[in-house]
Structure formats: structure tokens, C-alpha cells
Symmetry: C2
Subunit: 623 residues, 2 copies
């Protein structure tokens, strides 16, 4: 029962008491790897996604990456200020779901909830498969084991996360800071060279193609929205405020600030260096594909050990970015379950103070996605921007309402409104541009999940309505039950059940089902072993009823009898005692009929509130 | 529950009342197809098996088939008289198992039981695959569907048999009598020609090979024992005496006599015609393999429609010979279960008065064998003679003891003793000759099944010893129980359980597990809703105990409390009431914790005879 044992303690850590909760809380430095990994790792694919769309413009196209990045950073700044304010307003965790629900109503909240859940599952699956994919580019011999590697990473992430937030932060610190550190060095060195004049790449870069298209507003919008994938993961901190140690709001805001500043430097630095060194994207489906970060690092630092350190940390961080989903998904499902829109099992805190079921469900769905796509989930990347930006939009629209209700603060309303508008446009652009490629799946899933959540809510509402009781107990309704006891033959098992029946009531009906005419006469034995001694002791004597069963059914006559008694009787409860042999080994159950279990199930299915089945176990004694 | 429904009635027939039993019983003519199919179909492979071993002797070898067949028929006659006497002595079914158990003791009985069970399962699998194999020789296009065809035949046999013995007899009558009739015509016409001088084959026969070996006693023994496979299935009638209508013994003996007479004519006729027409076996692994019956029919009747009719009925009867296993296996397992050596489920009679579980187990094991061998089980044929002859030997040895105990009848003792000796020798020869080819598997299985049956017997003996009760009930031991009720919050569910608890006992302990310190105070609500009204009504007030749970386990504290109460208390029973919500749809169970179920399981596993768990169901009402 108590999942103890040394192995479990070793893998997952010892159980934590509720009073140890504060000790599991983290500071801002540990918070950055946990809640910022997803956001920071976006720098590895956001600019690349934008540059890929600019390939048809040739060298001229690379120039546009700077204004697009500046626009994205401006949007990021808006989102940053919005989320700072959200943390302030929602110290118990103010993800898009909470903010949208509280300010825009349940409908908007559920939309945000569905979008975010899908987003997190995709983040986990895509992060793991991107990391493993990059590893396989480096070591092609591992190709046949893609799925196994993905599931292996998933298992490691699960084990690390099952230990709790505190331990997770420590494990993820090194790769996160290595990733940020090496990229900052690349940017610093590159900027230094660029400031000294026209910089030259240390190792030769591929030539940019000749322009085959011209700029259009639609293209710029698509470039912008693709680049916006660099912003996914930004909302994680505001969702996980509770995980920070006191003063929680301040620590959360520090973590968010550091993450946004780092992300801004990375995005801006990458954009400027791309322009300075003339680095454009290569065709991702082409034979000579190389990632933008790889070319940039080569150009600035050469093809030495630092290059491998940088690229290695990129791969590691991409794989680990899945962890943000582990940190946030359980908190999100808890928040939804608190409003009765998801099963209450998501509210339970496990032995390490985590919302364990959120992790189980995330792991199961991620594993399912990985297995369905055999570990190659790159096609899912564009889809998950839909979820993230839908959530951004709703969250910021919610904040607008929040300020409005607080009465005024027009500047803040304007900032959030601008953010909502910009992210809303992005959602529309992504939806339209990617609808045929699969965004319709996301739309369908969101709709389906909203239906499920409504159904769950309806059930809980109904149960609460049906079971709520405000009046006190009615002592007059406490009356002796009618007891029904099926009897096979006179044995210790029967004696135990009968003794118990006699202690419960004076109205006892013992039923004997007669299957064949060749049976021994139970009436004689009954008179001798039961009726006479009880009469002599001045106790009430239970009735023995013989039920005929021409078709040899044993349970049917008992069930019919019980239901008939229930029909005829007054307010009294009907207790059906079911004697049952408890064997010592599981296989011994094969040697006995399961009629007791069946009778319980049938009476549960066909019975009603007045019928109570009581199992009288009779244990075989150990030798 | 009552497996009704039109589809089920159509497939399996309407349910039969126990009083309709006599109507299901059969006369001797219907008994021949049911209990004789296996024996009669043996004529199709017994002589062939003997002739195959004589191939190395060339034309000279064919001569030996006549004396060998006469020897087999002599043995058959001995076995026949033995089983007539068995039917007389055991009118309720005297298979080898019963006879061996009653006369030689349980050890010999179990040996016979294990041998027979294996024999029947092999009969079913080999019969089906032999029939399908023959069909495939005729229509090679069906080859890829061997397994499907085998399983299809198995399903048809199962459906036919689930309708009961009466209907089965009617279905099998036509093929059985067609098979016997056509072969008798072949033998009659052939004998007529042979009596008129040196007969000539109507269509040319393959040439017999030149002799490459000489006769030896060992070879003759092997030929004899191979030919003895013609005798498998003979014991079926004595096992199924009960299935015949009144007068059962007489009808059973008539059926047995007809079967043995027909089999004798077939075996003798085939042997004589083989010699007269010079028909020997062909190499079963050779390219030009043709069965002895096919050559014989061709030689006598030519290659016309009668040939196809005969061969067609041979194929059909081979496939249907599996049915003998269906008729006898359930009766055998019932007889073993009656002695507590197999689970009692084999004693139950289903809706059509059959021992349904015997059929289920037979079908399952046959399907397993067919699937393992992908429908080609010819290699198993030699193995199942071991089981059949072991059973013969034990049965006849048992009859010797029977006569001895009856005091005398030296002729009968001699006849049975001779039979036991001859069949015993056959068992030894088959075991030695086939040990490496797989008879060791049979030996191992027999040993394993004997161990299983002993274990089952030990369990039942123990249960009977532990639960048997001869003394009457002790009225003084009827005392009020201690009632323990876990309480979550004040609701209709709690009220119902508490009302019930109050009707049972004055010693009630309500338990509330406090998981977090932030909970509402239940003590105040309790005082107001429960304690005050009960006190006012002059009733006893249940105790409310608050259990702290620092690690958030909910069940552990309850279980610990219950076990502690059990330790401290006197002879009183401890009733744990477990309120449980019963939802309307299965999926709604996902929305509620399964703690009630878990608590029941834990208390059942860790509890003892004094702890009784009572489930208080609370039904959600339909709208």
C-alpha cells in the first residue's frame, strides 16, 4: 500500500510530508531551467523558421530578419509586461487558463485550457524528438533506434520529474546555462568583429541562392508568425508562481525577467549576426541542410571544440525543453480540475508533493504521440504555435478586462490590448497558413476537449447537487433492516453469516436454491442446527425459504426474491449477506465459483438505494 | 444474467429444464454416430499405419496384414467383452477413470484420467486437422487457409455440441452411416470378386517395392501396435452410458455391439482385400502418396462417382471424429471433479443440460494446439495412442480386480487379464518406439496433470475440513458489532451510511482523515448535523475521530485504525462501512477515486475473520 521499498525511494526520492512543502520550493536561479528551458530553446528554431520563409528572396531576404526580429522582440516585451502584471495579480498561479476564466468567463477559459494542454503535449513530444533527431544527425548509426531513444529520454524525464520540482531544477541547471553561455559568447565575439568592420566567416559558408520572389505583406506576415515560435514557452513562469519560494511573486518576476532578457539578447544577436555574416537558412528538405545556429557558430568561432560544445548544448536543451511541459502540465490540469472541468484525480498530490496524475497523463499521451509518429514529430512543430498563441491572446484579452474591472489604468489596458491584438493576428495567420497542413487537427482537438471538459463539469455539478445535504440526520429513520442470507449448506461459513445476521435484525430470511431434486433435505438439518437451539435460547428464529430453480440458475431466484422483497417492503433497508470464501493463493479462486462476486455485481446494477450487499468473508487458515 | 436473447436461442437452442433431461437422452442408433465416430473412423488409419511399417517387406509384407488384423480383432473382441461387462457394472458411466479408481485406487485412476484427457484433446485436434488436411489434398488452393479452416470446423463442432447430445446425434448420423455404408459396399463387392478367383484391379495400382528387409518379432510387434490405433475411441460408449435413454445399459450395449461388429467387419474386410488385390501402403512422405482406402476403393469400384462418394465420406468422418472428444471429455472431467480432483465448475450443467465448462476447456485447448501447430497436427497422431492404450490397460486391470472382489468368475478375470496384458504390451511398445519422436511429451504432461489434480484435491479436502461444522449455532456468540465508518464530509451519502450504522450497533467510530491543514473544520458540522439531533432524540452518539495524515495517504490511516481496533477488541466483529457512489455510466467512474474499492481489497487481504467490510452504495438518480 505505502509505495515504499528501497528501489522506489532511490528512483523517486523518499516520500515528503505536507509540512515539508516549503523546502520543495525554488529560487529564481533554479526556476530559469525549469520554467525557462522551453522559452530559451525557442531561440534555436524561431529565427530559423523565419529565415526559411525568406530563402526565395536570396541575400536581400536576410536583411529583413532584423526588422522582423525587432517586431517579435517588441511583441515579446509586451507579453513580458503583461505576464509581470499577471504574476502580480495571480500569485497562486496565473496561467492563461486562470486569467481567461476569471476575466472572460468559463468559455474563454476552456478554450485556453484546451489549447494549452495540446500545446504542452506537443512541446514534450516535439522537444524530445527534435533532440533525438539532432543526435541522430550527428551519429547516423542510431537511426534505427529513433523511437527507443525517444522513449528512453521520456523515461529519464519522467523519473527526474517524479522526484519533484526541487531536484529537477538542479539537474537542468547545467545544460541550460551551458546553452545560454555558449550562445552569448558567440554573439559577443561576433558583435565585436562586426563592430570592427565587414566581418569574415572563419570557415566558408554556403552561398545564398539568387532571389526568385519579391517581398509582399503576406510573406512578411508569414515570416513574422513563423518567427513567433521563438516566443512559445514564455507563459510557463506565470503558471508556476506557486513553485517559487517566498517571496513568491518577486522570485517569479525575477525569473521571468532574466528569461525574457536572455531570450531578447539571443534573438537580437542572432538576427544581427545573420545580417552581418550574410547567413541565411538552407532548405530543410535539401541534401546540404545545416541549421542557422550551426552556420553562425562556425562563422564566428570556427569549426573547433567550442563549435561542438555549443551545438551539443543546443541539442541537449532542445531535448530537455520537453521538461517545461512536465513542470506546467500538471499545474494546468490541477487548475482545471479545481473548477470541476477535469477529473479530481488531478488534484491529488503524490508522495513527492507533485500532482502525479498530471505527469502520468502527460507521459502517456506523449508516449502515444511518439509511438504513432515513430519518434519523428517535426511535422507537428507548426501546429503547436496555434495553441500557444491562442492562449497568449486569451490571457492578454483577459488582462484587459482585469484592468477595466479594476477601474482604469488605460496604459496597462493599452499594452495588454496591443499584445492581444498582435498575438491574435498571429493565431489567425498561423491558422490560415497552416490549416491544410494540419492546423485543422488542432482545431478539432480543441473542440473535442472542450466537449469532454463540459461533460465532466456537468457530472460533478450533478453529483454535488444530488449528494449535498444541509439538514441534520433524521433519528426516526434509523430502523432495523430486513436481512436476506442465501444458504448453501450448514457449515462454519453459514454459521458466521447467520450469527452476524442475528446481530443485525430480527427479520431474517434465509434462502436455499434447490437446483436438483436429488439434494439432501436442508430443512431437517436447519431445524436441528439452527431453529431448535435459537428457540431454546429464546431468540428469534430466521425463516428458511426454499426456492425452486428448474433451469438450474442459482443467482436468478435470489435476485428475483430480493427485488420482490424490496418492492413490497416499507422504508426499511434490505441487507443481502453474501458469505464468501477467501483463499490463500490466487489460483485457488479457480477452484471455487464466483457466485458471491456475481451476486454483488448484479445487485449493484439492478438494485437501488435501499439494497445493501454485505460480504461476509471466511478466511482459510494458514497451516 | 439469464443468457436469453433470440440469437443465443437460435444458435444453442432454448434452455432446458432439469425435468426435461430424459428427453435429451438417445437411443442406440443415434448413439453410434456420437460415441462410435472415433472408433469407426480409426478403420481409415489403423490398417494403413500397420501396412506402412510393412513397406520394407514388399509384396510379402502385405500378406502379414491378415494375421496382424486378426490379432487386433481378437484384442478388440477382448476389449469389447470387457467393456460390455463394464457397462453392466457401471451404469452411471464407467470409463477407464471410474473403473481404475474404484478398483485400483486413486493413483491408477488419476493416471487413467490424465492419459484420457490428453487423448481426447489430441483426438479433437488431430481429427480436425486430418479432415482439413484431406480436404486440402483435394483442393490445394485452400492450403494458405489451413488454420482458419481448422478453427472454423472447431467452431461448427462447438456450436453443434452446445445444443446438446440429442441434436448432435441427428447431425452426425448421415456422414457416419454414409462412411460405413460405402465401405461395406466396397468390401462386399471386393469379397465377391475375390471369391470368384484372382481379382483384378479396375484401375491400375502402384507397384509394390522390392523387399529390402526381413521379418522380425520386433517389427511384427511394431506393426501390431501401430495397427492398434484402429482401436482408439472404443471406450467412448462405456464412458457415456448415462446419455442413453432407458433402458440405458441395454441401449449402450447395443450401440457398443454394433460399433464393434462394424469395426471388425471393416478391419477384416480391408485386410483381406489388401491381400487379395495386393494393395500395400505407399510412402506417406513420398511424392506419389495415396491412402490405402483410396487405392482399395479404386481397385474394387473404379475411379467413378462411387469412389468420390466413399473418399468424401472418409474425409468428413475423419474431421467429425473430433466430436467424440466433445461427447466424452466433459463427462470425464465431471467424473474427476466429482472426486474433487478437478475444479467443481466441471460439475455445473449449462442451459442445455451439458457440462458446459468441459466443452469450453476442450475447445480452448484444442484451439491452442491447432494454433501452435498452425493446423498441421499429423505429427501428434502416434502420441495419442499412448494415452488411449494406457487407459485401456488400467481399465481392464481394474476389471480384473472387480471380478476378484466379486469373488471368482475366473473366465472373465482371464479375458480382462489378457486384454490388460495385450494393451499393456502395446503401451510399452508405443512408448519405446516413439519416445524420442515425442512420447516423452505425453509422459511429461501426464505427470504434470497428476500433480495438478493432487493439488486441487488437497485444496478441496482442506476447505471441507476447515468449513465443516457439526455442532449447532451458538446463540451466546450473537453480539453487537463494532462499526467503523470513514467520513469525508456531511452529505446524503454520509447520512445514509450513518443511519445504517446506527441501526446496527451502539459502538460506532466515525473516522475523518485530515490530509491538509487548510480543510474546513468537520467537528463543528458534525456536532450540529449529527451529535445534537441524536442526543435530542435520546439515541447514542457516534464518536468522531480525526486521523492526521502527514504524507497525504488516505487509506493507510483507516486500515491501521481498523487493525488496531481488531487487536484490542474482544470477540465482537468489526464492521467497516464503506460508502460508495454508484454512477450511471461506466466512464463516470473515471471521475471518482476508487478508494472504496481499494479499501475493500486491502481489508480483505490484510483482514481476518472478524473484520467485515460493508459497501453502502449510493445511486445517482436518473433524470
Amino acid at each position: 500500500m505505502a509505495l515504499s521499498g528501497n528501489v522506489i525511494n532511490f528512483l523517486f526520492g523518499r516520500p515528503l510530508a505536507s509540512s515539508e512543502e516549503r523546502g520543495e520550493h525554488i529560487g529564481p536561479l533554479a526556476g530559469i531551467p525549469i520554467f525557462g528551458l522551453d522559452a530559451l530553446s525557442s531561440a534555436a528554431y524561431g529565427p530559423e523558421a523565419a529565415l526559411t520563409l525568406l530563402i526565395p528572396l536570396g541575400l536581400a531576404g536576410v536583411r529583413y530578419i532584423v526588422p522582423v526580429s525587432v517586431a517579435i522582440i517588441a511583441l515579446l516585451a509586451i507579453v513580458y509586461f503583461s505576464y509581470r502584471q499577471t504574476i502580480e495579480a495571480y500569485p497562486h498561479g496565473g496561467g492563461s487558463y486562470t486569467v481567461a476564466t476569471e476575466n472572460l468567463g468559463d468559455g474563454a477559459g476552456l478554450l485556453a485550457a484546451a489549447a494549452l494542454m495540446i500545446d504542452y503535449i506537443l512541446t514534450a513530444a516535439v522537444g524530445i524528438s527534435a533532440g533525438v533527431g539532432a543526435l541522430i544527425s550527428a551519429v547516423p548509426a542510431l537511426q534505427p533506434h529513433t523511437l527507443e531513444l525517444c522513449l528512453g529520454v521520456l523515461v529519464i524525464l519522467t523519473l527526474v520529474n517524479m522526484r519533484g520540482v526541487h531536484d529537477t531544477g538542479l539537474v537542468f541547471m547545467i545544460p541550460t546555462y551551458l546553452f545560454t553561455g555558449t550562445l552569448l559568447v558567440v554573439i559577443a565575439v561576433g558583435t565585436f568583429h562586426a563592430l570592427q568592420g565587414h566581418p569574415q566567416a572563419v570557415t566558408p559558408l554556403p552561398h545564398l541562392p539568387i532571389a526568385s520572389a519579391t517581398l509582399s505583406i503576406w510573406l512578411l506576415l508569414k515570416v513574422f508568425s513563423s518567427g513567433c515560435t521563438a516566443m512559445t514557452g514564455v507563459e510557463a513562469v506565470s503558471n508556476g508562481v506557486m513553485a517559487f519560494r517566498d517571496p513568491t511573486r518577486k522570485n517569479a518576476k525575477i525569473a521571468l525577467t532574466i528569461i525574457i532578457v536572455l531570450l531578447t539578447i539571443l534573438l537580437l544577436g542572432i538576427a544581427l549576426l545573420c545580417r552581418a555574416y550574410g547567413v541565411g537558412a538552407t532548405d530543410p528538405n535539401g541534401a546540404h541542410y545545416e541549421s542557422v545556429l550551426s552556420m553562425l557558430t562556425r562563422a564566428v568561432m570556427g569549426h573547433g571544440w567550442f563549435y561542438y560544445l555549443t551545438i551539443g548544448s543546443v541539442l541537449l536543451v532542445l531535448a530537455l525543453s520537453a521538461n517545461t511541459a512536465f513542470a506546467d502540465f500538471p499545474r494546468l490540469t490541477r487548475a482545471i480540475a479545481l473548477n470541476n472541468y477535469l477529473p479530481h484525480v488531478f488534484l491529488l498530490r503524490g508522495r513527492r508533493l507533485l500532482y502525479s496524475w498530471g505527469i502520468y497523463v502527460l507521459v502517456a499521451l506523449t508516449a502515444l504521440l511518439l509511438i504513432i509518429f515513430r519518434g519523428v514529430t517535426d511535422r507537428l512543430i507548426p501546429l503547436y504555435a496555434v495553441g500557444a498563441f491562442l492562449a497568449f491572446t486569451l490571457s492578454q484579452a483577459g488582462m484587459v478586462m482585469h484592468w477595466k474591472r479594476q477601474g482604469g489604468a488605460p496604459l496597462r489596458m493599452f499594452v495588454n490590448g496591443l499584445g492581444a491584438f498582435a498575438t491574435g493576428i498571429t493565431v489567425l495567420v498561423v491558422l490560415v497558413a497552416k490549416f491544410v497542413q494540419g492546423a485543422w487537427v488542432t482545431a478539432l482537438l480543441v473542440a473535442g476537449m472542450i466537449v469532454v471538459m463540459h461533460t465532466v463539469k456537468r457530472h460533478y455539478t450533478r453529483v454535488n447537487r444530488d449528494t449535498a445535504l444541509d439538514r441534520p440526520i433524521l433519528p426516526a429513520e434509523v430502523v432495523e433492516p430486513i436481512v436476506i442470507l442465501p444458504v448453501d449448506r450448514w457449515s462454519r461459513i453459514t454459521e458466521k453469516a447467520l450469527s452476524f445476521a442475528l446481530s443485525m435484525s430480527n427479520d431474517i430470511r434465509c434462502l436455499h436454491v434447490q437446483v436438483s431434486e436429488e439434494e439432501d433435505d436442508i430443512c431437517k438439518v436447519w431445524e436441528e442446527k439452527v431453529a431448535e437451539p435459537l428457540r431454546a435460547a429464546g431468540k428469534c428464529v430466521p425463516k428458511l425459504e426454499i426456492l425452486q430453480s428448474p433451469f438450474r440458475y442459482v443467482l436468478q431466484p435470489v435476485v428475483d426474491y430480493v427485488l420482490a422483497v424490496e418492492q413490497q417492503s416499507d422504508i426499511r433497508k434490505i441487507c443481502v449477506l453474501v458469505p464468501e470464501l477467501v483463499v490463500l493463493h490466487w489460483w485457488e479462486n479457480l477452484l471455487h465459483n464466483r457466485r458471491a462476486d456475481l451476486l454483488k455485481v448484479i445487485l449493484l446494477l439492478r438494485g437501488n438505494r435501499r439494497i445493501i450487499v454485505i460480504n461476509i468473508p471466511w478466511y482459510l487458515e494458514r497451516d
